[in-house]
Amino acid sequence: MKYLLMIYGNDEVFSSFAPEVFEALVRDTNALQAELRESGEWLAAYGVADQVMAKTVTVKGGDTVVTDGPYIEAKEYLGSFDIIDVDSLERALEIAARVPWAKYGEVEVRPLMAEAGDDM
């Protein structure tokens, strides 16, 4: 089963970190990713650029319209994500709990859809 782990950032918490806390966070995050690569459960991981870099695209009447944003008012925003392929939901939750950021913020776990379907 493939899962998306969405890691929500929070600038207020983030900017309050002492340098050594920040370093530990980066180190632990890299260590977890290395471990998942090694176990063959890791598919992808990316940090997402800041909201000021966001653009929104729509096509109206054949014309492409690009706007800046959205800038969502919420304090929490998507900071990074991992895609993993694991044995069970339990394993996905276990990995989510080991994301170092989970001690400070939230990690949302969502199954990814597959094309295949079970028999009716």
């Binding site: 176990s39 063959g40 459960e41 094309e115 295949a116 079970d118 028999d119 009716m120």
Partner: protein, 414 residues
Amino acid sequence: MTAAGPERVEDLLRELAPRVLGALVRRYGHFDACEDAVQEALLAAASQWTSTALPDRPKAWLVTVASRRLTDELRRDEARRRREDAFATATAPEVPDHEDTLTLLFLCTHPSLSLPSQIALTLRAVGGLTTAEIARAFFVPEATMAQRISRAKQTIKVSGASFDRPPDIERSNRLGAVLHVLYLIFNEGYIASSGESLQRVELADEAIRLARLVRALLPDDGEVAGLLALMLLTDARRAARTGSGGELIPLAEQDRSRWNRGRIGEGVALVSDALQHTALGPYQLQAAIAAVHDEAATADDTDWHEIVGLYQLLELMAPNPMVTLNHAVAVAMVNGPDAGLVLLRPLDDDPRMRTHHRLFAVRAHLLEMAGHDADAVTAYKDAARRTTSVQEKRYLDARASRLLSNRAFNSLAP
């Protein structure tokens, strides 16, 4: 000697792969290093045999080439670490191939490995598939699959599992693990097989091939026969289970003329023979249920009484919530939807099933049968929101909207 076609070579290599690996591991130990060496030998053979010619003794050719790679590798290793036991087992007695293949299957499904690792390792070490093929089949990057396989081999090494037959007392559990892995490989292939996945190694075919192999090794085992029969009887419906747009077609609406009669005949014969001559088991029962469906000329001809009886036995032998769900459907077909709905009730107390899409889907279906359209629509939508299959979601949403438009139409009627 003439060069052989690539397909012929591939079939031959896949057939020889576990036998060559078994011979090597028996002779040298070092399952992980042997497995790498055999993969290299298979790749070398795939290119050489198609461009020049098949050797007179293909298996001996592969054993020689793989042994050479292995000893090179082990010597490098030895120079590094001065391992003196590398060739300690080099004079192991000759053992028939089939014993080795079985031992290999037990090793690949060793309890220290996670299920995804067991599946990957079985396909590579016994199935002779390349890492790239396995990665494609499971829609993961090749690097991920390579890591999964190498980690699995490492785990086996660390666990100290040896290349020996498991003791008789463990054997039936360990065989159960082998069959479970083959069942999962089949399912993965079967549910994903639609017109668009031509690129994919046919995992369902591969699972059937491996089940045939195990059957040849253990011809008297009723559950091996049962599993092979279940695969054949299910696979017989493959062409009819999806429409031209890849949409799922439920059993009752499938065009039965597109079912594969050869597969059905073979499956029915296998399961009938197993039921008569061996101890009863869950795979045989599931195969028997599939056989009842496959032998019905039309959906209306299905012998639901027989199916209910088989599910009752299955619930006794191997109770699980999915069996209960299917049992409820069968009971509904015999005694009406309300009787089926009653059977679903206990599943509401099961924390895993309570929110499972299959429970909502079956309940929706029974509610629709009972004429409770509004509740059925809600249940279909609940199911559609919870499935992680695109095709299934489409199907469930379509059922919901069909019911809704029927209701709108009926409310217009005088």
